[in-house]
């Protein structure tokens, strides 16, 4: 039987989890790591990442309203799309 009194487990950070899964050579991703320079995000993987972000935010993201700079670091992604919080 489940212990209902236990504190709920922290929800995984969907964005970080996705990016780490794409780059198994990385054990963590610094908030200010340049994701584009380091090829964590690139043209061919971008659409799948966009869908992860849309799922995390709960709404479609119009590319008319964003630029590559909005995806350069985890910090910028959180600020731009997630109100500064992890993508739970």
């Amino acid at each position: 039987m489940t212990d209902q009194s236990a504190a709920p487990a922290a929800k995984p950070d969907l964005v970080l989890t996705y990016l780490l899964a794409r780059r198994p050579d990385l054990t963590s991703i610094d908030e200010d790591l340049d994701l584009i320079e380091n090829r964590v995000i690139d043209s061919l993987g971008f659409v799948n990442f966009l869908y992860v972000l849309e799922e995390a935010t709960g709404e479609p993201i119009s590319l008319d309203e964003v630029s590559p700079e909005d995806f350069r670091t985890l910090r910028r992604i959180r600020e731009r799309f997630l109100g500064g919080r992890p993508a739970a």
């Binding site: 794409r22 584009i36 995000i41 690139d42 043209s43 061919l44 993987g45 971008f46 659409v47 799948n48 966009l50 869908y51 992860v52 849309e54 799922e55 479609p60 119009s62 590319l63 008319d64 590559p68 995806f71």
Partner: protein
């Protein structure tokens, strides 16, 4: 769009002129384009509606075909999804043609392209018309073109390969689309208007694909002569990722959402992870991977996950 035109125009011209058959093929393609010329603005009837309660694309070409996600959908849901996956397919055509036109317009009558410019005129004219009838279909019968979801970041970073990669991407896009056009243009389960836009596109694309195969083959032969083995391997890895991304773009959560399927992102994830989708990827890309492998551009036909 590629940032720069080839810096070695003389080298490019020499590569393209190096095989006398290329000129013969170009002349033949120009003659065929002139012979088969039609006015698309008069060719299509555009009835007020297409049959709504039917398949809009061949069921075997839907991304959920044979998957657990597909098995959970009833017939009405599958038909609805076929409508929105077909609109996604035509929308991808619209956006793919925009990239193609941008790249060809950037090259026509520029240094290095003297041999190909005459045929570029035909490609530009024909692709503009294709874009028009695909967009017209989407807007008239679905009320929208799905937005482009691509964003350009840096590619492999091998400057000598830029021109090859542009024509390779265009060829892969055209071959993938043509697999669908060829089947749907002759699928009696589909509405006549749907059959016709696919059949007409297939007719024109067979010429563009013939051109694409020739130029990609010539350009890669030159790269094999000049690039290192690791550079060629990087190009192969990039092309395989492009192939995979192209196939995955056919599965759009917006189409799931418009078809009334709950949790569209989870449905897409599950579809892409399904073994039946692997079979789908291999099947719809078979023509491209077969050609690329035969030309020693890729070393095998496996397309790994992104």
């Amino acid at each position: 769009m590629t940032e720069t035109l080839p810096k070695n125009a003389a080298g490019l011209a020499g590569t393209l002129a190096g095989d006398p058959r290329f000129k013969e093929i170009l002349d033949r393609l120009v003659a065929m384009s002139e012979r088969d010329y039609y006015d698309p603005y008069r060719l299509f009837q555009w009835p007020e509606t297409v049959v709504e309660d039917a398949y809009w694309m061949s069921p075997e070409l839907m991304t959920v075909h044979g998957t657990a996600v597909g098995a959970r959908l009833d017939e009405a849901q599958l038909r609805a999804l076929s409508k929105w996956e077909s609109v996604n397919f035509y929308s991808l055509n619209v956006h793919g043609i925009r990239e193609l036109l941008t790249e060809i317009v950037a090259r026509i009558h520029q240094p290095g392209y003297a041999l190909t410019s005459e045929y570029f005129h035909h490609i530009i004219g024909e692709e503009n018309e294709h874009m028009w009838f695909f967009a017209t279909f989407c807007l008239k019968y679905a009320g929208k073109v799905y937005p482009d979801r691509a964003m350009a970041f840096a590619g492999p970073g091998i400057a000598e390969a830029d021109t090859f990669l542009v024509f390779s991407r265009l060829l892969i896009f055209e071959e993938l689309v043509d697999v669908f056009n060829q089947k749907m243009g002759n699928d009696q389960r589909l509405d006549p208007t749907i059959r016709k836009i696919n059949a007409v596109h297939h007719q024109d694309e067979s010429r563009h694909i013939a051109f694409g195969r020739q130029i990609v083959s010539l350009l890669h032969a030159e790269l094999r002569r000049t690039l290192t083995v690791p550079q060629l391997a990087e190009i192969e890895a990039y092309l395989k990722r492009y192939l995979r991304a192209s196939a995955e773009s056919l599965c759009n959560p917006a189409a799931f959402r418009d078809a009334g399927i709950e949790e569209p992102y989870a449905a897409r994830r599950e579809t892409l992870a399904d073994p039946a989708f692997e079979e789908f990827v291999a099947r719809v890309l078979k023509r491209s991977t077969g050609f690329l492998a035969a030309e020693q551009i890729i070393s095998d036909e496996r397309i790994p996950a992104l």
